[in-house]
């Protein structure tokens, strides 16, 4: 028989109700009213019964004895005994009396009950759930804020358990007793919304995505996807994460805010870029490690992203796994960063002003020896080498000159002003902004500052209902004075301030000295009063008086103008079919102006002729892309097919540079190329870039079934001008699957897991950063020979056998991930990946009998990156307090797995000036660029220890050492210290990177704390050049060995350094690079509406902010954030500043 009688749903179709079959209760009642049984069940199982007390006899007595029985069976018993009918919605049971009494025993059979469970596909036909059977019917549609229908939204009568759910089209229908009720719409990932009916029977509701982000739209490359159905590993940073934070460029926006990224500034200088790597170092070749940047669909190439005003960014998506990145094919193996700029919205014109102004100062000053201490140690050093004291009376020098004080700027200004105007109608929208950013350096600001001017216009126009035209365009002008040579062994104010002796005076005021050599005879630099800057008698080479150095760099600057934009035409002739064509371009103009005066800084650093150099370069790159996509929803089968074609041209560049020598002036200001000088004093050069072209076809199939079973497949075919003739085209496939387990019927309906998605992906990506024409057999010059008397002829010959098989570096990546929403307010994303790069470009060593002159290139080496990533978010509103916390942590392990047959390590490596041994080594089985050197085993305290340190043959291992020298570990046990005693002593790649932001607001006040850190890496502290024995020391060298028992970690001071205490790369100056940094601490106050409305404002907020307020680290240099090309070796990096700012946001 048909069982209307006992309609009981074991769980609801969203998989989020009480699991009645797995909820066990014990009920022992004798002749108790029904409502008491209900109460008991409610008490034990946290469910709720709803019924109309008028139509249901809840006082009817009932007797029941069950022990650990399932709720399901209990309800069936109740149903049979009391002629009741149950329907379950979530944790609610709607109860009514069955009109007809039960007949026979088949009613309670599971077979019969099963039949009436909600089949997932027909939710709507069972949408009517009510214990009030004779009232009004309300219908409507629920969509997200973009108008897409939402499936499975719970629609409930406020204050009751009565409710229903939407179907795949977002439609719902509910029967209510009254037309004045309030409906509550709730859906995982969206804000709960309450709607008063006020007599209406049709209600269309749009829900706003909540912090859980499940319904955030994620940009995935040639399209968007809801986060809830994304199957790849993508990290997003939204405009809201960046608001009001002092972000100078894109890399700063990502640092600490997305998992899986390793970001380190190459310098704290204004305008300095950072190195960004996604999921570790992908290649041994530098250029192949930069992510591909795509701004509004325009590939802007690697690194050329400085032009972008961070305030214009709507969202940044980092495509981390191969399945996400493969849509960008042969340029995606280092990951892809998609940037979307802000667009206008239909509605009133909005005008916003955002600005801040602040002051910056160095966060740390190094502790260096003062003049007395310096002289004392110099004397000791001389004595250790058996030489007479250098200074008769060290005390007489007092404290001496503090060079750091002289170059640091404790009041460096930073300011940013930006006005944006946006708005539009249904037909057209626009967003336009104007920005200015200016920052002075905290070191030598007259030669270290940065200014950027931005203009942006994004607009779109609906030509017809089915046809849209639009454009994005950003322009920037940058003027950058970056003349503080940071992180180099070869001078510059920073490293000079550290190494310059404190005895030398800032300026020479004594007329006798000022009128003596070299001041009297050389073009020395002078201060405003004509006093010469002091020149050291003790420290030479590239170490100079930093103030004098600064004078020689006055005026020099780099500039650039960039225009990046695209135009697009989008048509939707049939619903679901979209055609889109875009043409994008990057136009760049850049150059520099440099004047070198006559100068004399010391006996090594001088200039004997003036020169004025100007360089001008330009590039005009473009790309064209055409895509067609088709979306169709058939029942719950949701397909999207995308097909596309692209053509890309870059490195379409050229440049010239001209230098005028011997201009009759001595300052940048006076320098001009209008002077008539002889042609012999003009030198010029130029170049044209070799074009880089890529031609592509790509396709993507996205499929999901009811938002539950997800699949994405991608294939891209790329041809590149850099591929060898035998491998002109590469294919880059990927596939990913996902399963939203929480939507399954059997998913335990526990409140603590609201959403669970498990996903996996595998794909292949490539890199075509191979250099030009490396597959061709080129002919090179310079193979010259002399015929006759002092003449020579130019010879040309083939360079090396060509490699027409040259192909892309290939990266395959396996990724597993979980996305969860927990306890309603928490969301969590976890990823594990294994990324393998093979065929990394290397020079091929042919046997010498081949007689090749140049290098041949081949796809040789392999590398692997394995990692874990966790992102966690929490949002809750408790009364007037709103809390929003986000955190992420990533673990990474990089290993070189192959370098060619029999090749254990690469030649070369980073070197220190003091040593012939490289400090770093890239070797099989170790992380790229690992530190490689000798191991110290303490300091010899006396001759006895030296004599006792013997090899197997009983002979001393370090016979020439003296007390105070390092005891080197004899790792190969051959009884002597040789290059074979070097080993891997650390690596500069952090094991862990993490970041978090904590955002809380209470009424009109808000507080933000944003922090970021790394751990598990090493830094080589190379601030002091060990080949300059007279350079000043940091105060930790006061702990040097100077007698038995004085130190077992710092060696004695010596100039000759026969034991190579300083010259050998070793673990002596290798330090732990862990740090944690409070990047931003900000307190804001929003002015009350009644006050600002009078001023015509909609919003007004002022804030106080501090950047880099606190850094926790044990590292002894300026700054543990060491990026750039010499990753991990600190040769006096320009430190990050600590700033204090006041900011203002106004909305009109």
């Amino acid at each position: 028989m048909i069982v209307f009688s006992s309609v009981l749903t074991a769980k609801d179709s969203t998989g989020q109700g009480l699991d009645t079959k797995n909820t066990f209760l014990t009920i022992q009642v004798d002749s108790k009213p029904l409502q008491e049984v209900f109460s008991e069940i409610e008490h034990q199982s946290k469910c709720k019964f709803v019924y109309d007390a008028n139509s249901l006899n809840v006082t009817a007595p009932i007797t029941m004895h069950v022990k650990k029985e399932s709720l399901y069976n209990i309800l069936i018993q109740l149903s049979e005994k009391m002629n009741l009918d149950f329907k379950q919605i979530g944790n609610y049971f709607s109860v009514r009396t069955v009109e007809k009494p039960h007949e026979g025993s088949s009613v309670g059979t599971s077979a019969a009950i099963k039949k009436v469970f909600f089949p997932d596909t027909k939710v709507s036909s069972y949408g009517l759930i009510s214990n009030l059977y004779n009232n009004i019917i309300v219908r409507g549609k629920v969509t997200d804020d973009k108008g897409s229908p939402l499936l499975g939204v719970t629609v409930q009568l406020k204050g009751s358990g009565l409710g229903t759910m939407t179907d795949a089209n977002g439609d719902f229908e509910i029967t209510l007793a009254s037309g004045n009720a309030t409906l509550v719409f709730s859906y995982v990932g969206f804000e709960i919304k309450e709607v008063k009916l006020n007599g209406r029977t049709t209600i269309n509701v749009s829900l706003t995505a909540s912090v859980s982000g499940l319904n955030e739209v994620v940009v995935v490359g040639y399209g968007t996807q809801k986060k809830s159905v994304v199957t790849g590993a993508i990290s997003s940073v939204k405009a809201s994460d960046l608001e009001n934070q002092q972000i100078g460029n894109l890399s700063q926006a990502l640092q600490g805010r997305a998992s899986g990224l390793t970001i380190a500034s190459s310098s704290g200088a204004p305008g300095a870029a950072a190195t960004v790597t996604i999921r570790g170092t992908t290649s041994l070749n530098d250029g192949a490690n930069d992510p591909l940047y795509v701004v509004d669909g325009v590939v802007v190439g690697s690194g050329g992203i400085d032009y972008l005003n961070p305030n214009d960014i709507e969202s940044i998506e980092v495509l981390k796994d191969a399945a996400s990145a493969a849509i960008y094919g042969a340029r995606s193996s280092a990951g892809v960063i998609l940037v979307t700029t802000k667009k206008g919205k239909a509605g009133d014109v909005r005008v916003n002003y955002n600005g801040y102004y602040g002051t910056q100062a160095p966060a740390k000053k190094l502790k260096l020896l003062n003049a007395t201490q310096y002289a004392t140690l110099m004397n000791e050093q001389a004595a250790n080498d058996g030489k007479p004291a250098v200074f008769a009376n060290p005390e007489s020098f007092g404290k001496g000159t503090d060079w750091q004080d002289l170059i640091f700027n404790n009041d460096a200004q930073i300011q940013n002003h930006e006005v944006s105007i946006s708005g539009g109608s249904e037909k057209a929208t626009f967003y336009t902004s104007f920005g200015y950013f200016g920052q002075d350096g905290i070191v030598a600001p007259s030669i270290s500052n940065y200014k950027r001017y931005n203009v942006r216009l994004n607009s779109s126009y609906k030509i017809a209902k089915w046809l849209t035209f639009g454009q994005t365009a950003g322009y920037s002008h940058i003027n950058n004075k970056g003349n503080v040579a940071g992180n180099t062994d070869f001078g510059g104010p920073l490293s000079s301030a550290i190494m310059m002796d404190p005895i030398t005076k800032k300026i020479i005021t004594d007329p006798t000295e000022a009128n003596a050599v070299p001041y009297s005879t050389q073009p020395v630099e002078r201060d405003g009063n004509g006093n010469p800057y002091g020149i050291s008698n003790y420290v030479v080479q590239q170490v100079t008086n930093p103030l004098a150095y600064i004078q020689t760099e006055q005026g020099n600057y780099n500039w650039s103008d960039d225009i990046v934009g695209n135009v697009f035409l989008e048509a939707e002739p049939v619903k679901g079919l979209k055609l889109r064509s875009t043409v994008g371009t990057t136009l760049s103009y850049w150059g520099s102006e440099n004047f070198t005066p006559l100068y004399y800084l010391n006996s090594n650093q001088f200039s004997t002729q003036t020169s004025f150099a100007r360089s001008r370069q330009k590039s005009a790159n473009w790309n064209i892309e055409n895509t067609v996509s088709f979306n169709r929803l058939i029942n719950q089968h949701n397909f999207t097919i995308l097909l596309g074609q692209g053509a890309y041209l870059d490195n379409n560049s050229s440049g010239i540079n001209v230098t005028y020598f011997n201009l009759p002036v001595n300052t940048f200001k006076e320098a001009s190329m209008n002077y008539s000088i002889s042609a012999a004093d003009i030198s010029a050069g130029g170049y044209e870039g070799i074009h880089h072209t890529v031609s592509s076809l790509f396709g993507r199939l996205t499929y999901d079934y009811g938002g539950k079973y997800l699949f994405t497949g991608i294939i891209r075919r790329d041809g590149s001008s850099r591929f060898g003739s035998n491998n002109k085209f590469g294919y880059f496939p990927s596939a990913s699957v996902g399963w939203v387990a929480s939507r399954e019927d059997f998913f335990p309906a526990k409140e603590n897991i609201n959403f669970l998605k498990i996903r996996g992906s595998y794909g292949i990506t490539g890199s075509d950063v191979l250099g030009n024409f490396r597959y061709l057999s080129t002919v090179g010059g310079g193979r010259n020979y002399t015929f006759g008397d002092n003449l020579y002829d130019i010879g040309y010959s083939p360079d090396a056998p060509s490699n027409p098989d040259l192909r892309w570096e290939q990266t395959s990546q396996l990724n597993f991930g979980i996305d969860m929403v927990l306890f309603t307010n928490w969301n969590l994303t976890f990823d594990w990946y294994n990324k393998k790069t093979s065929g990394i470009l290397q020079t091929i060593q042919f046997p010498a009998y081949v007689g090749a002159t140049g290098s041949s290139y081949g796809n040789v080496a392999d590398m692997e990156n394995k990692g874990l990533e966790l992102e966690l978010g929490y949002q809750k509103t408790i009364g007037a307090v709103k809390i929003n916390v986000k955190g992420n942590i990533s673990h990474l392990r990089n290993e070189v797995t192959y370098l060619g047959d029999g090749k254990e390590f690469l030649d070369g490596g980073a070197k220190l000036q003091s040593s012939t041994y490289p400090l770093t080594r890239t070797a099989v089985g170790y992380a790229i660029g690992s530190f490689y050197g000798f191991k110290t085993e303490g300091v010899f305290q006396n001759q006895g220890e030296i004599d006792a340190y013997v090899g197997k043959d009983g002979k001393p291992i370090q016979p020439t050492a003296v007390p105070g020298d390092f005891k080197w570990a004899d790792l190969d046990g051959d009884g002597q210290i040789t290059e074979a005693d070097r080993t891997f002593i650390g690596d500069p790649i952090p094991d862990w990177s993490y970041g978090f932001s904590f955002n809380v607001s209470w009424k009109s006040f808000d507080l933000l704390v944003f922090g970021q850190g790394i751990s598990g890496n090493q830094i080589f502290q190379g601030l002091r050049r060990m080949d300059i024995p007279t350079a000043n020391w940091q105060t930790d060298f006061l702990n040097r060995w100077h007698g038995e028992g004085t130190s077992n970690t710092y060696p004695r001071l010596t100039i000759t350094d026969k034991n190579k205490n300083m010259a050998n790369p070793s673990d002596f100056r290798l330090q732990n690079g862990d740090y944690f940094r409070i990047k931003t601490l900000q307190i804001g106050y929003s002015l009350p509406a009644n006050i600002i409305n009078k001023a015509g404002l909609k919003t007004a907020r002022i804030y106080l902010s501090s950047n880099n307020l606190l850094t926790a680290t044990k590292y002894t240099g300026f700054d543990p954030e060491i990026g750039g090309s010499s990753y991990g070796i600190d040769r006096a990096i320009y430190p990050q500043s600590r700033s204090y700012l006041v900011g203002l946001n106004l909305g009109f």
Binding site: A647, E688, T693, S721, L776, V779, Y785, D789, Y796, A848
Partner: protein, 488 residues
């Protein structure tokens, strides 16, 4: 956009990058190819390796030590001097790389010359071919003498064959050298001699005959050798058909202002005008040997400072001290120091006596742009008439030939420096070679060629049956079918 999809979109403009397929299309490019084939002749090292040149061979002989700053300072010299040479350590990669690079370039241009080059005169092309073949013979003669067992290439090596190459027998290599040189000598378009000022250093027929004679000598084909040398030498003391005659003044042979003199037969050229810096040896046009043999940290007259390589052994000093050629051969720095005229820093194995013939002498100062070293302008005269006189004399004695002519040749060499005539015995000829050609890079080859190495070098550490040859360089064994020489 259609273009964008097609393959031509991916074939980008070369922007002046020269591609082999498009090169060698006109006479200038053909000549540039030939110049590149000559280029390795002047190398004093390899591309990827260090500095080494004929002084290495002197260090291996009993005439010079290794020297330098310390026992490990100039490994190319010191490993040869001490015979402490193995596959990884020694100058072998330099010699190997230099000569095989030359062979590769020769084979490239010879394959180019098989095709038509528009505008290139046939006679000029034939001369080029002859020059290239001479160069190939020269490069192989060095290889076969130093290594004996080397791969033999007479055509460009196809890429797919690179790792399948095996070594040829020394006989096969010698046969190819003979064939090449006979072709050269038979070529009517190859000049007998060249104008010194513009073409000095280019291949001549005289050079080819002299080299072939020397090759025969090494093969112990005494009569064939003597026949070739007879043409080169002409009447002893007179002027040969190629214009060669002995200079009157011995020291004039080595003067920088007397390049391509009438005694010079094969001259390896250098120049000071390239303004080279230190770097890859293959890119330097000056003479590095000069820097190598100069006294260290020297301050004083006559010489520049150098690296202190190849100090003269007491053995050579004693042999030559009373010879008229002493003053031209030995730089007696110690005497200058003792006279308080100069100071220097004695290096490893210092004897106070240095090789003077190629020393960095102030009188040959580089007046052009660029630093003095490595831009010393001295040429290296690899074969000169006194050498071919003595070789012919030796061939005549060994082959039972005209002993009167043999004595005339020997005594012409002696008479030029004022020495009395001697009988043309092998011992006298060998002794004359040592003194006449001291420090010019021949002694070590001679000792091995004549079987005297074991007796003379044995006490110095020379291992018979091993040290006659250099080891095949270690990197050559990676993935290849090379076989190491005996004893290494």
């Amino acid at each position: 956009m259609i273009a964008a999809c097609s393959k031509s979109f991916l074939d980008v403009d070369l922007k002046a990058t020269q591609v082999e397929d498009n090169y060698y299309k006109n006479p200038d490019q053909a000549f540039a190819g030939l110049v590149a084939a000559y280029d390795p002749l002047g190398w004093e090292g390899g591309i990827s390796s260090g500095y080494s040149n004929f002084p290495c061979l002197e260090a291996a002989s009993d005439d010079c030590f290794g020297g330098g700053g310390s026992a490990s300072d100039v490994p190319y010299l010191n490993t040869m001097d001490s015979y402490n040479i193995d596959a990884a350590n020694g100058p072998q990669l330099d010699f190997w790389q230099k000569n095989f690079t030359g062979i590769s370039r020769v084979n490239t241009v010879l394959s180019v010359f098989e095709k038509d080059i528009p505008g290139l005169d046939d006679a000029v092309k034939k001369r080029y071919i002859a020059e290239a073949k001479f160069l190939r013979a020269h490069y192989y003669f060095d290889l076969v003498r130093l290594f004996a067992n080397v791969p033999l290439f007479t055509e460009p090596l196809p890429k797919e064959e690179i790792y399948n190459v095996t070594q040829a027998s020394p006989e096969e290599v010698y046969a190819q050298i003979e064939k090449d040189l006979k072709d050269v000598i038979a070529e009517p378009n190859l000049p007998d001699k060249v104008p010194a000022a513009t073409e000095g250093g280019r291949v001549t027929k005289g050079a080819a005959q002299a080299l072939l004679g020397k090759v025969y000598l090494y093969e112990k084909k005494w009569n064939d050798a003597a026949a070739q040398f007879a043409d080169v030498n002409g009447a002893p003391g007179g002027t040969s058909k190629y214009g060669y005659h002995l200079l009157n003044n011995f020291s004039d042979i080595f003067r920088v202002d007397n390049k391509f003199n009438s005694e010079s037969i094969i001259e390896i050229t250098h120049t000071s005008i390239a303004a080279s810096g230190w770097g890859n040896v293959s890119n330097m046009e000056g003479m590095i040997a000069s820097q190598m043999v100069g006294p260290r940290s020297y301050n004083g007259p006559i010489y520049y400072s150098g690296w202190g390589g190849c100090p003269i052994t007491p053995s050579l000093f004693n042999a030559i001290h009373n010879d008229p050629r002493y003053a031209t051969t030995v730089a007696d720095i110690d005497s200058l120091v003792n006279l308080h005229l100069a100071s220097y820093k004695p290096g490893y194995q210092n004897t106070g006596h240095f090789a003077k013939k190629f020393a960095p002498q102030q009188s040959f100062k580089n007046t052009n742009a660029g630093p003095a070293p490595p831009n010393y302008p001295q040429n290296y005269i690899e074969m000169r008439l006194a050498d071919t006189y003595l070789m012919e004399a030796e061939a005549l004695v060994q082959g039972g030939g005209d002993l009167i002519r043999a004595a005339a040749l020997l005594n012409a060499v002696r008479a030029r420096v004022g020495l009395d005539p001697e009988e043309a015995t092998l011992e006298n000829i060998y002794n004359e070679r040592r003194l006449e050609l001291a420090t010019e890079g021949h002694r070590w080859y001679d000792l091995i060629r004549t079987g005297r190495a074991a007796a003379i070098l044995g006490p110095l550490g020379f291992t018979t049956g091993k040290n006659e040859l250099l080891p095949i360089p270690l990197p050559e064994f990676t993935n290849t079918r090379m076989v190491q020489n005996p004893g290494y």
